[in-house]
Amino acid sequence: MKVAKRTFDAVIVGAGGAGLRAALQLSESGMKTAVLTKVFPTRSHTVAAQGGVAASLGNSTEDNWHWHMYDTVKGSDWLGDQDAIEFMCKKANEVVVELEHYGMPFDRTDDGKIYQRPFGGHSMNYGQAPVMRSCAAADRTGHAMLHALYQRNVRANTQFFVEWMALDLIRDADGDVLGVTAMEMETGEVSIFHAKATIFATGGAGRIYFSSTNAFINTGDGVGMAARAGVPLEDMEFWQFHPTGVAGAGVLITEGVRGEGGILRNSSGERFMERYAPNLKDLASRDVVSRAMTTEINEGRGCGPDKDHVLLDITHLAPENIMKRLPGIREISIQFAGIDPIKAPIPVVPTCHYQMGGIPTNYKGQVVVPQGDNNNVPVRGFYAAGECACASVHGANRLGTNSLLDLLVFGKSAGETVVEDFEAGNLSLKPLPDDAADVSLARLARLENQTNGESVHEVRLAMQRTMQKHAGVFRFNDLLKEGVEAIKAVAERAKNTEIGDKSKVWNTARMEALELDNLIEVAKATMISAEARKESRGAHVRDDALDNAETPNGRDDANWLKHTLWYSEGNRLAYKPVNLKPMSDDVEPIALAKRTY
């Protein structure tokens, strides 16, 4: 197959919030930039974010970045790097106000400022009471944000390659990144995008689980590409299960509903969160609420004929308020649960939602890997931001609204770093190796020639069920052990997938087979990292980690206060220390403590 070559200063893979924010930086500085995306930019998954974006503007209640930082570190169960967290919390106001100027239609307070609502795990004065920190455009914050960013990119004349799927990362003998190979979905042709800088902003891989709030296109492509190219993946055992997915449908009901006063109830109508989190109650951190719900269901206090869900009740709120602040949620409940939340509570279950781990980066958006005795050596020419990256600000558990913030802060920061490196002349167009496209071509040829193979749909389903059963909300030693073998077996099957449609043009079956390769990398990373981590921390909670004085909540800081690094080759694990030191002297390190809400 002949492979066309295109040359740019920079190529960005992904046009969700993170990709668009980075692209803006590059386009406005005049760099010749290509943005590749599987779907038209405003269809990217960021569009579905509902609840809000965190910033300590203090418009509705007193607030400051110190409190935000404390909440984020505590939310991460101390696995987040404190330098990156400080950076993000300090930058929050700037990036949110910037968006306001770009035209993002935030809700307003009576005095015209950006409206803010309470959200899980965000507190005032170091955990004392809920704070109003989430800046919202009703319950369609992601939509408003993505469109504002896109409009600004049209203004900056950003060049998009829509419906182009990146296939593999190109690295040379020095390990430097020189771009990607990509397939134009319309024609099935493969091209090389040769660039001085490559930014990944491909979003999460929530589709490794059977039940997920994520869109079908969230297949962890960037993460999979990085892993296949020898970059380790960080902290992949940590997945957030959102407490309130619509039972059965998996569609998300934002935590903003609880921020506006919604209450979780079990079969006897009890507000059970009072027992699990006396201070923040329904607004405790997501992992805490998801586990409480799972415990209620496991102990027989679930609702419905199968006692398999709990109820989210907002019937006590004023209907005008529901219509004004949560119109999208009302729409979703009516549509997907057949219930008008003004009149009856919504059936909900914890549902896979967010990937805390990802491609390891520093706060500047540079991808960093261990080399010799330095754990964080930047890979030349390679940057990442958004859900596919691990900065690491979310650690073992992300707080709601911190992801949209992460996209803005690190999307911008990655963009700024590239522009700086570019302007300083630190980026060069290294010659392409002769075999630059070989890996991709071999993958395609394998699919083309496969006979008596496996169905993509069935292998994907087997993967999703394995993940759901063996690495869910609660994790068990024996199930994890079996899970490792099971997922390796599924990965073997994925090597022999066969597609029923072999036409060149608009072949969705081929794309799904290629996406499955990426999902499989993520699933292996998750299971193997989870099996190895013999403690409970944040979203990773296992039955054999005991809660006692040395290991509060089962968290074993003496042995496990460290980031996991999983290498695809040989399923090898390595570890690196957590950065417990903030970036500046403006703040003291946030000392380890037991996490209670």
Partner: protein
């Protein structure tokens, strides 16, 4: 009582010389809570592996999945099969380039629209982020938000007689955007500028007010009111333009 649905789907791949447009019918057992999104995925997983259609969010907010459902444009992810008769026919949205089967290219169309109408806030000066917020009346903010809800799904274009006859007509989606920026105090453009953009037959004067668009907008945007307002504003601006010219003569 469960039904067996019979779903007729328009099939055609314009890039494949051998492809001839035709309808293909599949039977499918209806399940509780089934949306067209679920139904189409099930068909693709079982009997029609090469079927093309678009979905991303499955929650009515990304605007990818519009198609013509039993003759009416709508979002497939928001359409419950229970609300439809047993026989369902699905066609791609007219007015956009066909990609294949039920998939059309709304993206290129929307990007061209964005460029031609300059649908971004034209700031008088670049934001000074140290100045912090630019306060806005909550009521006005709500009005802008209301219009900003457009998901660029293209249903209003598919439903619009003018858009079908006149390529380049910006449609309700475009006019609604102008209405949105016109409301926004941060946008420094005035009616004379907007008149330049939509004071013509490709814009507001091409609209015949038949309101196919408003009936079918899945986000229930108040298109009728907005179009009427804009028409009045632009007519006024048009007159002003004529008088100005006369004065100068």
């Amino acid at each position: 009582m469960s039904r067996v649905l019979s779903i007729s789907i328009f099939r055609h791949n314009p890039r494949d010389p051998a492809s001839v447009p035709h309808m293909e019918t599949h039977e499918l057992a209806e399940a509780p809570g089934m949306t067209l999104f679920i139904a189409l995925n099930r068909l693709r997983e079982t009997v029609a592996p090469d079927l093309s259609f678009d979905f991303v969010c499955r929650a009515g907010v990304c605007g990818s999945c519009a198609m013509v459902i039993n003759g009416r444009p709508g979002l497939a992810c928001r359409t419950l099969t229970a609300a439809l008769p047993e026989h369902i026919s699905l066609h791609p949205l007219p007015g956009f380039a066909l990609i294949a089967d039920l998939s059309v290219d709304t993206g290129t169309w929307m990007r061209e629209l964005a460029e031609s109408l300059e649908t971004w806030v034209h700031l008088a000066a670049e934001p000074d982020i140290d100045l912090l917020e630019a306060p806005m009346e909550p009521k006005l903010a709500e009005e802008i938000y209301e219009l900003d809800r457009c998901i660029e799904c293209g249903c209003c274009i598919a439903a619009c007689g003018t858009a079908q006859m006149r390529p380049g007509f910006v449609g309700a989606v475009g006019l609604n955007k102008i209405a949105r920026f016109r409301l926004d105090p941060a946008d420094s453009r005035d009616d004379a500028d907007y008149f330049e953009l939509v004071g013509n037959d490709q814009g507001i004067f091409g609209c015949m007010s038949l309101m196919g668009c408003e009936d079918l907008c899945p986000k229930e945007l108040p298109l009728q009111t907005q179009l009427a307002w804009l028409r009045r504003g632009m007519a006024r601006q048009g007159l002003r333009g004529i008088f100005k010219k006369k004065d100068n003569e």
